[in-house]
């Protein structure tokens, strides 16, 4: 899918903001599901709050869960303090725009990461368009979350008829109070839900300070890639002819690409999305296989290949070789779907 240039990012962001603002005004009782969704997307930029939420992601046989205290000052400051599990109890992360600093009192260190994708307005606008193209938002009955009245919206895939996501949107502020995602078979994949929330702007700025506390040391963490719409440029930078999938699930299209150096290996990242779900295809021509480390991969066979895959929560990583290229396919899709895509990646 062709994407606008970076120069038009501001314009698109403004358009999206204006659209959302207009929708907020109209997202009163009786507003359309589309208007509610757009208002929900924009809500964190307008609404400040403090609260506590629970995050759970289910894998095939187990689940990861965390309880987090959240302070948010609109438009882009967050502080998240982990209350459980015990291994990260007391750790907190301060996010200001694309930068996130994770403070670890037990290790007396701060890990600084940067994720430019967070404020990539172009990608956000493109994905919003994809959501509208690929999903039908269905308004459900009003429910109560954390003591707040919430409208419920279920996203139904226009091609498969499957329920993919459900939102609980604060009827007054339009903040998303809870969200669930579902596997293709309808089983629960993930849930984020506020247990308690109060709206206030009276949050001290010092909570979002990025100063390194006395006695701590600072560690430079990752700077994540930011797949741009200039796919040709990213492919050129990779220095080899990549192979893309001939099959993608309905609604998915390529939305960006970038090339990163990983241990001096040029790794090309092709990013696909249907608006709600992402799919990443990584390729390198150094036959650099995936090192699963402490993860325990299982084997899968398809089209004469022996691949390895691992599931981490709802996310599956499938890795294999084809001629001199090494591939890794990552997505919140079922293994069967990932293998169908992998089969179509042939020279």
């Amino acid at each position: 899918m062709p994407r606008p240039t970076a120069a038009s990012k501001l314009g698109l962001a403004s358009v999206l903001g204006t659209l959302a603002f207009a929708c907020v005004a109209s997202a009163a009782p009786g507003a359309s599901p589309e208007a509610l969704v757009l208002a929900a997307i924009d809500a964190p930029h307008r609404v400040s709050y403090e609260g506590q939420e629970q995050v759970t992601r289910w894998g095939p046989t187990a689940a990861d869960s965390a309880i987090v205290r959240v302070e948010h000052k609109a438009p882009d400051r967050f502080r998240r303090t982990y209350l459980a599990p015990e291994a990260i109890y007391g750790d907190y992360v301060v996010t200001r725009g694309p930068r996130s600093d994770k403070f670890e009192p037990k290790n007396a260190r701060v890990i600084v990461t940067s994720n430019p994708a967070i404020e990539n307005a172009t990608a956000l606008a493109d994905n919003t368009t994809l959501v509208r193209q690929n999903y039908t938002p269905v308004l459900g009955p009003q429910e109560t979350v954390a003591g707040r009245a919430a409208a419920t919206i279920t996203f139904v895939n226009r091609f498969t008829g499957e329920r993919v996501m459900r939102l609980w949107i604060d009827a007054q502020t339009h903040l998303i109070l809870a969200k669930e995602t579902y596997h293709g078979d309808g089983s629960l994949e993930s849930r984020v839900r506020f247990d308690q929330i109060s709206y206030t702007r009276d949050i001290p700025d010092s909570l979002f300070a990025l100063d390194v506390p006395a006695g701590y040391h600072s560690v430079q963490g990752r700077t994540y890639g930011d797949p741009s719409g200039h796919i040709g440029t990213a492919i050129s930078a990779a220095g080899f002819a990549p192979i893309g999938p001939k099959y993608l699930p309905d609604g998915f299209s390529i939305i960006g690409a970038d090339t990163s150096d990983v241990k001096s290996i040029k790794s090309l990242h092709l990013l696909y999305s249907d608006g709600l779900r992402n799919l990443s295809l990584f390729e390198n021509n150094r036959a650099a296989a995936a090192d699963f480390g402490s993860l325990r991969p299982a084997n899968a066979s398809f089209a004469g290949h022996t691949a390895q895959y691992v599931k981490q929560g709802p996310t599956t990583l499938l890795a294999w070789h084809e001629h001199d290229l090494a591939f890794a396919l990552v997505g919140d899709l079922d293994l069967k779907e990932l293998i169908a895509i992998a089969k179509s990646i042939v020279p």
Binding site: V37, I41, V55, R57, D64, A66, V68, F78, Y82, P85, A87, D91, V93, T95, S100, K102, N107, I111, T113, N115, I118, L124, T128, V131, I176, K179, V219, G221, R222, T223, Y224, G225, G256, S260, V262, K263, I265, S267, H269, L271, S273, G275, L276, N278, S280, R286, A288, A289, A290, D291, G293, S294, L295, P297, V310, Q312, L317, A319, A328, V330
Partner: protein, 162 residues
């Protein structure tokens, strides 16, 4: 004291075998009795001479014995095996050198190949999760890291920093 000490007393004295009181009395007696002092010094010189002689015997063989050993070395002829080894030494050295060279440049690299490059699976998973933040209804970026908290808690230096 009018009595004199015997040679046995002096030997025990020289070897530190007397009891402390007897040792002190003999020492005092030697200072006063010239006869005993003379006998004691004779005994002491004898002991020194015997020790020196014993050490000299350990160092040097008698001259005749040494001469016979050297004569045997000079006159002995090398065995057939010794002569064969000497003759073949150049012929063996070349192939041995080639073999060692081959081992160093061919066999060793084949056996001890550098580990092929790899990319950490966590790099793929983290990159995918991070870039998914550009979707409008994505979980908060920090929420996404919660599920890998058990890994990041023990390993802070994300391999993406590579």
């Amino acid at each position: 004291m009018t009595n004199h000490y015997t040679n046995d007393d002096f030997i025990d004295y020289l070897h530190g075998e007397l009891a402390p009181a007897a040792d002190a009395r003999l020492h005092e007696h030697l200072l006063a009795c010239e006869a005993c002092r003379g006998a004691y010094e004779s005994e002491a010189r004898l002991g020194d001479w015997l020790r020196r002689a014993a050490r000299d015997d350990e160092r040097d063989l008698p001259p005749m014995v040494k001469a016979r050993v050297w004569e045997a070395v000079r006159t002995q002829r090398p065995s057939l095996a010794d002569r064969l080894r000497a003759a073949l030494r150049p012929a063996l050295a070349l192939p041995l050198g080639v073999s060692v060279t081959a081992l160093v440049f061919v066999v060793y690299p084949a056996v001890h190949q550098e580990a092929p490059p790899t990319v950490a699976a966590s790099y793929y998973l983290d990159e995918h999760a991070a870039e998914g933040q550009a979707t409008p209804l994505a979980d908060h970026p920090i929420t996404a890291t919660v599920v890998t908290a058990s890994e990041t808690a023990s390993d802070a230096a994300p391999d993406g920093g590579e």
